[in-house]
């Protein structure tokens, strides 16, 4: 029960913090002070209180976009184990629902973007769906590998099964897996090197350009949803990359939170030291990730 | 009598060569008329006299010797053609082919399981040789008239074979054969007349509008 409460509190409260940490890290690299860690929270609160401007061309689809996206991400978040703790809801096949919920949210985000009739948002939408489509197989290769290792078909068991021992017995495949998943994480959340969330150069953006016309609370939902997506996918990544077990329930929660903070720092570091890829290189990197995860699966299935 | 019949058959075969080698229409028509008359005489030579036989003889001579040549002649006159020009295969090669076919006919007839009483006679080789000559004319000549002549020669060849059976066969088939020959030629004659009217020529090589591209 307590675990469930902690789970929900974490998924509801922690995501914006990651954005703050990433920002701070990047600022540190750039030699700036940077915005406070809690800046994303301030942004959200402020957005929720602002009025909105709607384009004349938009319809209900535009308004439904952020709502459905947020709802789908929230439901998906209940399926993911955080650290060594199983998710509150867990059943056979939930990993597929998990993946498809992100599909649903993507559908609505892009639909909302297209609803504005702006060619820039259309461009962003096209990139978003194309790149995520290439990410899908990677995710499923990884899921199969995990399922094979854990002999289980629930996300919680698959992800909590990993332990330091596995890193010793199946190190190579785990390494490939982690690499692939990290690329997936960056790609899905539109981080550098795939996308630069901070620039506003429309021609090179992916996610940001899709939400150009959103404003007020809706934009808040989008930011919040995106942060939550980063958190959820990050949680999956951390479960595999850092299967540290303390033995105590509270300790595990602690390890998890620390792990997530480390992950945010890691992303910040990557964003600071890497440049954004050229657009035509992105599919190549994504396919490379797919190949990595396919190799991982091959090694595990063998 | 058999030997006289054989001599007549040799004559028939010689007439075949005349037709194969001649380019003149009038000669060909006359030759085919003579061949018809000779054939008309043959049944009388090989079989004992009967009224039925006499009827057949008269009928054949009338049809093959007089009516049909007259019809063709008429058509030729109307269309004013005298010669077969540009045969598919030249006259000399045709003659050589005719000779080869005639020889083959003799060889082939040797091997056929004939009834013993027909073994010695020339009927079968003559029949086959005439048949083949008919084929040859049909396949080498392009004029409609020449082809009719070829058809007549073919019919003559068949008729010679039929002579082996005049005794055994009912009148009906004989008469039918004759009738159909007559009707066929009669209709053909009409058609040829129409052809000459339409095309002002009876060169069947002109009759080539109907074909696949």
């Amino acid at each position: 029960m307590i675990d469930t409460i902690i789970h929900f509190s974490l998924i509801l409260l922690m995501p914006p913090l990651l954005l703050g940490i990433i920002g701070k890290t990047k600022a540190a690299f750039a030699g700036r002070v940077g915005a406070p860690f809690l800046q994303p929270y301030y942004d959200l609160v402020k957005l929720l209180q602002k009025g909105s401007v709607f384009s004349e061309t938009t319809t209900w689809v535009f308004r439904a976009g952020p709502v459905v996206t947020l709802a789908a991400t929230l439901v998906a978040a209940t399926l993911v184990p955080l650290g060594n703790h199983s998710a509150p809801i867990s059943f056979t096949g939930d990993m597929i629902l998990f993946a498809y919920l992100f599909g649903l949210s993507r559908f609505f985000t892009t639909a909302a973007a297209l609803d504005t009739g702006s060619s820039f948002e259309g461009m962003g939408a096209a990139r978003e769906v194309t790149f995520s489509c290439l990410v899908e197989p990677t995710l499923f290769f990884a899921l199969i590998s995990l399922a094979r290792m854990s002999k289980s078909l629930t996300l919680s068991t698959m992800l909590t099964y990993t332990s330091p021992g596995i890193w010793i017995t199946a190190g190579a495949s785990m390494l490939l897996l982690v690499g692939a998943l990290f690329i997936t994480l960056l790609a899905e959340n539109c981080r550098i090197p795939f996308d630069d969330p901070n620039t506003h150069l429309e021609l090179t953006m992916i996610h940001e350009v899709m939400v150009l016309d959103h404003s007020g609370p809706a934009f808040g939902y989008i930011l919040y949803g995106a942060a939550m997506k980063l958190f959820v996918l990050g949680a999956i990544f951390m479960n595999i990359a850092l299967p540290a077990r303390t033995g105590s329930s509270l300790g595990d929660w602690g390890v998890f939170v620390v792990g997530m903070i480390l992950l945010a720092v890691l992303i910040g570091v990557v964003e600071s030291i890497m440049a954004r890829l050229r657009l035509i290189r992105i599919p190549q990197l994504l396919i490379a990730a797919t190949i990595l995860s396919a190799f991982a699966m091959l090694l595990i299935l063998r | 009598m058999g030997s006289f019949a054989d001599q007549l058959l040799v004559l028939v075969m010689l007439i075949n060569f005349v037709m194969l080698g001649s380019s003149r229409m009038a000669l060909c028509i006359r030759a085919v008329a003579v061949q018809g008359v000779v054939l008309g005489l043959l049944p009388g030579l090989v079989h004992p006299f009967s009224w039925h036989l006499a009827g057949i003889t008269c009928g054949i001579i009338l049809a093959k010797g007089i009516v049909i040549p007259y019809l063709i002649n008429d058509a030729v006159r109307k269309a004013q053609i005298r010669r077969e020009i540009e045969p598919f295969i030249g006259y000399v090669p045709t003659l050589i082919l005719g000779a080869i076919f005639t020889t083959l006919a003799f060889v082939f007839a040797e091997k056929l399981p004939l009834a013993p009483e027909h073994r010695e006679l020339l009927f079968v080789p003559a029949s086959i040789a005439t048949l083949m000559s008919g084929f040859l004319i049909l396949t080498t000549r392009k004029k409609a008239i020449s082809q009719v002549i070829g058809y007549l020669v073919l019919e003559n060849g068949i008729f010679i074979f039929g002579l082996l059976l005049t005794e055994a066969m009912p009148v009906m088939v004989e008469a039918g054969a004759l009738l159909d020959l007559l009707v066929g030629i009669f209709v053909m004659g009409i058609v040829i007349n129409h052809i000459s009217r339409e095309f002002s020529s009876i060169d069947t090589s002109r009759l080539r509008a109907l074909k696949e591209e």
Partner: protein, 687 residues
């Protein structure tokens, strides 16, 4: 539940060799079967009155009435048959031809295919009243109505037939009815071409079926279907039978590379006909393959893998092709290829499962296959009917000329959205359930099997799903969102109720089936069990291992959450100031609707990635000089196999034939030579 092998002897025992039916005692199943047969007959005759009624419109109304009654009766009895899971008695009609008695019967498998058939037929018939009204199409309406009923009846007969020749007859009536329906608008050159390609393709398929049933007869000495699982798969004949079945039935199902007829046929038919062809007729092809395989005691090992590979190729290339299309119906047609591919993947998994004696794999594969068949028969008609409404409203099939229709067609838009979500397999709609079973089959295999190559199905499906999302966002977005790209789109109008009602019904079913996956499972399990001869324990195991209740719960909570956030959002926006303005044009001051991202540009990136599957022809001017004149740029996807392979081959054959045709040169003396040569050869042959 093992297959009831006494079923055949039952029939023969029950019926004497006469033309009358059902001599002995009636049972519930008899009533069910009678209901289905009555429904078939009603469909078949539905168009007849219209042929004799002069006044326009009445015939169509009568036909629709009959179709609705037939659909209600048929769907009810078929569902009942499926659920009870028992083989019903059959009708045996002695028709004196040398093909054995004409036999009809329904088992759960047949009834499973009949359910969507009847449902879709009824809905499409209602739709036709508004879509193709007699008043506006006096020339073609009668033909359309008549053949529509005939198509439905013939498809049902194919499924009910238990004799090869009867099946062939019903099959060809179906194919020809579809041809006539497809060429309803026969003056259009595109329709002509589509009709021609369709007719030729279907005929070649029928030729394969000719061989199939002839071989079957050679094996069993009868045209009647053999007792299920009675033939040995090891004979050489078995290979021929199965290959011809794959070609003949597969051509109708539209699997790659036999799909050549499909895109243009579906695109050019009237929309409700496309809905029937895609939603139902393709499945009849799948049925044929499934039925043929059931004759064998075990499917041969190569078959499952072959079907799996065909399915994979079809799914991937189908959706890749779809993503590049600009014609709304062509896009939907290509997506049908994808869906059939998914069905084949399920079937292939099931056959591999049966062959390797892995019952759970068989159960998952077959369940996924069947559920996807049902699902596709719900959302594809919905989408085609929606496409019909859109074409009706805008007068074009080109999606790049549409845009902003969700304002003009506020009721059609959510229905179409539901269809799009469902076809992408997104929760909470029904498409997800079928794919779930396939994924689980693959995952299960990955966990337990020693040779888990099947696991590759999962990433493949994921990729296909990803492209499907691209395709359908493109479709929905380009048509309904943004601002109108042409005057036609700007003045579009909402379709009448008769068109909306069937679409709403389909959408409702999609949602219900998506939330309550148990309903779908309940429909298919009897067929799965009887077909794969699975013991109840395996079915139970499968059912218990897939907690559909949890999915229901999560789907419901997703909906609730959307509702809650939506309400919250609405209340917030009410409280807060709200303004409207033009879409931000990134600084450009005079944006026009034509500057929007079109569907083509939306999918261009993806179709570049799938270049091996999608060939695109671009033709444009080379711009030169400082002020180039107005120019035109053309972008079209080509039908690779048809345009690049088949048509050149046909042309080459045609050329060869044209040389051979010179034999008919019109020269008599050579004709004579032919005769003598024939004579000569025959004489030589003899001696």
């Amino acid at each position: 539940m093992s297959y009831d092998t006494s079923f055949h002897s039952d029939i023969y025992g029950m019926h004497t060799h006469t033309e009358s039916f059902m001599a002995a005692g009636w049972q519930t199943t008899d009533y069910l079967f009678a209901g289905m047969v009555a429904s078939v007959v009603l469909f078949g005759i539905s168009g007849l009155p219209g042929l004799f009624i002069k006044k326009p419109g009445w015939g169509q109304l009568i036909a629709t009435g009959i179709c609705v009654i037939a659909a209600l009766l048929g769907t009810g009895t078929a569902v009942q048959t499926v659920v009870t899971g028992s083989s019903t008695a059959g009708y045996l009609i002695d028709w004196h031809l040398p093909f054995g008695p004409c036999e009809f019967s329904a088992d759960p498998l047949s009834a499973l295919f009949l359910t969507p058939l009847f449902l879709a037929s009824g809905c499409c018939a209602v739709y036709a009243v508004a879509y193709w009204p007699a008043r506006e199409h006096p020339g073609s309406e009668k033909k359309l109505t008549f053949f529509f009923g005939l198509l439905s009846a013939a498809m049902a007969l194919v499924v009910l037939a238990r004799n090869g020749v009867v099946l062939l007859i019903a099959w060809e009536i179906m194919a020809l009815s579809a041809f006539f329906l497809l060429t309803t608008d026969q003056r259009d050159p595109d329709v002509q071409r589509a009709g021609m390609v369709y007719l030729i393709a279907t005929h070649i398929g029928t030729m394969a079926l000719f061989i199939l049933f002839a071989m079957l007869r050679g094996t069993t000495a009868s045209f009647a279907f053999p007792v299920p699982h009675s033939l040995s798969p090891d004979l050489g004949v078995a290979t021929v039978i199965l290959v011809t079945a794959l070609i003949g039935f597969g051509a109708k199902a539209g699997i790659m590379p036999l799909h050549i007829w499909l895109p243009s046929a579906h695109a050019n038919a009237p929309s409700h006909v496309s809905a029937m062809m895609s939603g139902v007729m393709l499945k009849i092809g799948v049925y044929g393959i499934i039925r043929t395989v059931s004759f064998f005691s075990l499917p041969p090992a190569w078959l499952g893998w072959l079907i799996l590979c065909l399915g994979g190729v079809s799914a991937l290339s189908g959706i890749a092709l779809a993503s590049a299309q600009r014609d709304i119906k062509r896009l939907l047609a290509c997506s049908s290829i994808e869906n059939i591919g998914i069905v084949f993947i399920g079937l292939g998994m099931a056959l591999i499962g049966i062959q390797t004696n892995t019952p759970l794999l068989a159960a998952f594969g077959l369940t996924g296959c069947f559920i996807h068949i049902l699902n596709h028969a719900l959302f594809k008609p919905l989408l085609f009917l929606g496409a019909g409404a859109i074409i009706h409203a805008t007068g074009t099939r080109e999606i790049d000329r549409m845009g902003g229709l969700s304002r003009r067609l506020p009721r059609t838009a959510p229905l179409f959205l539901a269809g799009s979500l469902a076809i992408c397999g997104l929760p909470p709609l029904n498409g997800f359930i079928g794919e779930l079973f396939l994924y689980l089959g693959a995952f299960n295999d990955a966990i337990s099997s020693p040779l888990p190559a099947l696991a590759l199905v999962a990433p493949l499906l994921a990729l296909v799903g990803g492209i499907a999302v691209i395709t359908f966002i493109k479709l929905f977005g380009t048509i309904f969102l943004g601002s109108p790209r042409s005057p036609e789109a700007a003045h579009a109008h909402e379709p009448p109720l008769a068109m909306l009602a069937p679409m709403s019904l389909f959408a409702l079913f999609c949602l219900i089936a998506g939330i309550c996956g148990q309903l779908l499972l309940r429909l298919v399990t009897p067929a799965v069990a009887s077909y794969a001869q699975l013991p109840p324990a395996i079915i139970d195991r499968m059912e218990s291992s897939v907690p559909l209740a949890s999915f229901t719960l999560l789907n419901l909570s997703l909906l609730l959450l959307i509702l809650a956030i939506g309400l919250f959002y609405t209340r917030q926006t009410v409280k807060l100031p709200c303004a409207t303005a033009a879409t931000w044009g990134c600084g450009y001051l005079a944006p026009t609707a034509r500057m929007q991202y079109t569907g083509t540009s939306f999918a261009e990136m993806a179709s570049n990635l799938f270049a091996p599957f999608v060939t695109v022809s671009r033709s444009g001017p080379s711009l030169s000089g400082p002020l180039p004149a107005a120019a035109r740029f053309c972008y079209a996807t080509t039908e690779s196999i048809l345009d690049r392979v088949l048509i050149p081959v046909f042309q080459a054959i045609g050329l060869a034939f044209s040389y051979l045709r010179r034999m008919q040169h019109g020269q008599m003396h050579l004709y004579m030579l032919y005769i003598f040569a024939t004579l000569f050869v025959l004489m030589m042959w003899r001696h």
